[in-house]
């Protein structure tokens, strides 16, 4: 009907239930769809940014904690590495001091090596043995628990390393000794023989372990040395004893792993200068574990609460909103229907007026002509057929009266009814109307029973129109009864309004007919017996006077019209029917 052109993208994508205006023709909007769309849109708008901010906060805070934790771990690692390096440095100094370049001859002779070892052991108990190796790799002197005098080390890696670089620290190994140990070898040029010689000191790996144990604090869960080939140089809480295999490659830096038990593990690895070793620091869970847990709990609580509140608010808002739209639609539909009804009445009014006018004049002529013939017959002497003629003329007069009743009613319907209010005693008005109908009721043997409230207050309303209303309804009752029956009319006050109940014991109105009886031209009377306008006019009039008319009916028992008239009419002239 009034489908608007699509001006924007929204007009194209929005469903009917949102953009359509309501009218009488279309099937009406789907409120369920409307509710779902509104709800979804509002929830998205309400919770989308919340979730985004929450997600960002979560991400950045977790990053922040991770960074701070890495820094702490790095800082710790650096500190530990420094202490180890110092320890190694001091060890090397001791060995270097012992292997002063000019002592080669001194050390290989007599018990001098033994004295040196004894002196060293007195200071540092972990020195296991000492050996002096000449340029060819042959051990010239040895003192220690093993018989290694004369052993040839020329092919050994440590020897070549020490020979070339001056100082060498070996990995931890078992070797001949079968207990883990490592060696520090220092090479020197003997000034007398002009040959390079090497002093090698073997140190018990337990000493390394001891040192690691002393620098291990609560801040870390595991701390151990590993060589570049991935062999543990000291015992690890996680990976086993010394010389066990470290499961991952040794790579300097910080890594985050999940342990076999599913624990979150941070692993920091740093190389120790001048050694084949790297230090590994393991931290089982985040250092800021508690902070993180608190943050998570708080974030989730706040976001869940916000979403819950959002959903509740949006739900109630949407419910209210759709309810409002539904009510507005209903009101609009009612108004449209009423306007349509008024339009119908107006066109019927125009039609009725036209028909009424056109028929009235010829009817008047027929009436007068018949009257004249009657007059003339009265003046004439008796003749054959005179009485028959008179009877027929009477028939014509009656038919004219019937036609007159119809045309007058049509014109009554067409009447432009401006309202002239005055004080009206309804009981009197009803009696007046009944006088009009006295003859018809007498003729049809219909009795009237009145139950009028005596102290009924006066109503401010339009006398002529109320007369028309009661005339129509009572006429209708008479027509419904036909012959032999009872019409009871009761007046009383109900909630500040006057209520008139007009009840007949006619055949009643069928349920299928009942909703239509106030529609124009709807009639159940035989063709030619009714215009189908009476009740429609009545309905229009009573609404205009601010009142109401309702009908109840039961087949075989009768029909009751209840007319409510306000004491001070809220006159509604919106429907006045213009016919002039």
């Amino acid at each position: 009907m009034n489908q608007a052109k699509a001006f924007t993208v929204f007009d194209k994508i929005l469903p009917h239930s949102i953009k359509a205006s309501i009218d009488l023709v279309s099937t009406g909007r789907s409120y369920k769809q409307l509710r779902i769309i509104l709800f979804t849109a509002m929830i998205c708008i309400a919770t989308g940014p919340l979730l985004m901010v929450g997600g960002l906060g979560y991400h950045y805070y977790s990053d922040l904690l991770l960074n701070s934790e890495q820094e702490q771990l790095e800082w710790k690692l650096g500190g530990k590495i420094k202490s180890i390096e110092q320890m190694i440095e001091s060890l090397m100094s001791v060995v270097q001091f012992a292997a002063r370049s000019d002592r080669y001859t001194e050390l290989i002779s007599a018990n001098n090596l033994e004295h040196l070892l004894v002196r060293l052991q007195r200071q540092y108990g972990f020195f296991a043995d000492l050996g002096v190796i000449d340029q060819t790799g042959k051990q010239q002197a040895y003192f220690g628990p093993y018989k290694l005098q004369g052993a040839d080390y020329s092919k050994e890696e440590w020897f070549t390393e020490a020979f070339e670089r001056g100082v060498y620290i070996s990995r931890v190994y078992t070797g001949y000794r079968e207990t883990p140990h490592f060696a520090i070898a220092v090479s020197n040029l003997d000034p007398i023989t002009r040959k390079v010689w090497v002093l090698r000191a073997t140190i018990d790996a337990a000493s390394l372990q001891q040192f690691i144990n002393t620098i291990k604090t609560n801040a870390s869960d595991d701390l151990f040395l590993v060589d570049d080939a991935g062999t543990l140089q000291t015992a690890s809480q996680y990976y086993g004893t010394t010389l066990s295999k470290y499961p991952s490659t040794v790579q300097v830096g910080i890594r985050h792993n999940l342990s076999e038990k599913g624990e979150n593990i941070s692993e920091a690895v740093g190389h120790i200068a001048n050694t084949p070793w790297s230090l590994v620091v393991l931290k089982k869970k985040y250092i800021h574990h508690e902070d993180w847990k608190n943050f998570q709990t708080r974030l989730f609580t706040i976001i869940s609460a916000c979403i819950l509140v959002g959903v509740l608010v949006v739900y109630s808002l949407v419910k209210m909103l759709t309810g409002l739209i539904k009510r507005t639609d209903e009101i609009q539909i009612a108004m449209l229907k009423e306007a349509e009804h008024t339009d119908k009445l107006a066109s019927i009014g125009r039609l009725a007026a036209g028909v009424g006018h056109e028929i009235n004049n010829p009817l008047a002529i027929i009436s007068q002509k018949a009257g004249l013939i009657e007059d003339l017959l009265l003046l004439s002497p008796e003749f054959e057929h005179k009485e028959v003629m008179q009877n027929n003329l009477e028939g014509i007069a009656k038919s004219v009266d019937r036609c007159k009743a119809i045309t007058h009613r049509l014109l009554g319907f067409a009447r432009r009814t401006e309202i002239h209010t005055e004080q009206i005693q309804l009981n009197e008005l009803i009696s007046e109307v009944l006088q009009f109908l006295e003859n018809a009721m007498l003729y049809n043997k219909i009795k009237v029973e009145l139950q009028l409230q005596e102290d009924l207050p006066q109503a401010v309303s339009d006398r002529l129109q109320l007369q028309q209303v009661f005339l129509n309804v009572i006429n209708n009752a008479i027509d419904a009864i036909g012959k032999d029956g009872l019409i009871s009319i009761a007046t009383h006050m109900v909630a500040g309004d006057i209520r008139v109940v007009i009840q007949d014991n006619g055949p009643g109105i069928d349920k299928t007919v009942l909703p239509h009886i106030f529609e124009p031209f709807y009639t159940t009377k035989e063709v030619g017996k009714g215009t189908g306008l009476g009740l429609s006019i009545t309905y229009g009039l009573i609404k205009k006077l601010g009142g109401d008319i309702t009908v109840r009916s039961q087949l075989g028992i009768g029909t009751a019209f209840t007319i409510t008239i306000p004491l001070h009419g809220d006159i509604n002239d919106r429907q006045s029917v213009k016919t002039d």
Partner: protein, 127 residues
């Protein structure tokens, strides 16, 4: 049928429906009224000037002048002239307007002659 006792009432019928008006004239004459008939608004005004009737039966719809216009013009010169509106154009509105212009009654066609005579007598006896 004739009423010789009362003074003969002089009626003027203004109606463009010739058949209706002439029949009404005959019937009223039978009842001892003195009746003249005109069929247009202008003729009505002239007839009133020529011979002032006791009462004018005025139709509302005539070809040249509307009944209400005739009534309005007559009111200026003959404020006491009694007028009954007799019309088939039963507009409540027009009826009220006519009454406001001084018409004594408003009767809708078709009308029972006795009812009309009653109304005429009532209006004339009023003064």
């Amino acid at each position: 049928m004739t009423d010789n006792q009362s003074k003969q009432i002089k009626l003027l019928i203004a109606d463009d429906e010739l058949e209706f008006a002439s029949t009404l004239v005959t019937r009223l004459e039978l009842r001892n009224f003195q009746v003249t008939m005109v069929n247009t608004g202008q003729d009505t005004l002239l007839a009133v000037e020529r011979d002032l009737p006791d009462l004018l039966l005025l139709d509302l719809k005539m070809p040249d002048l509307d009944g209400l216009e005739v009534l309005a013009q007559l009111r200026e010169k003959h404020p006491d002239l009694k007028v009954i509106i007799l019309t088939g154009h039963g507009s409540f509105e027009a009826g009220r307007e006519g009454m406001e212009l001084g018409a004594c009654d408003y009767i809708m066609k078709p009308v029972d002659l006795n009812r009309l005579i009653e109304a005429v007598k009532l209006v004339c006896s009023d003064g």
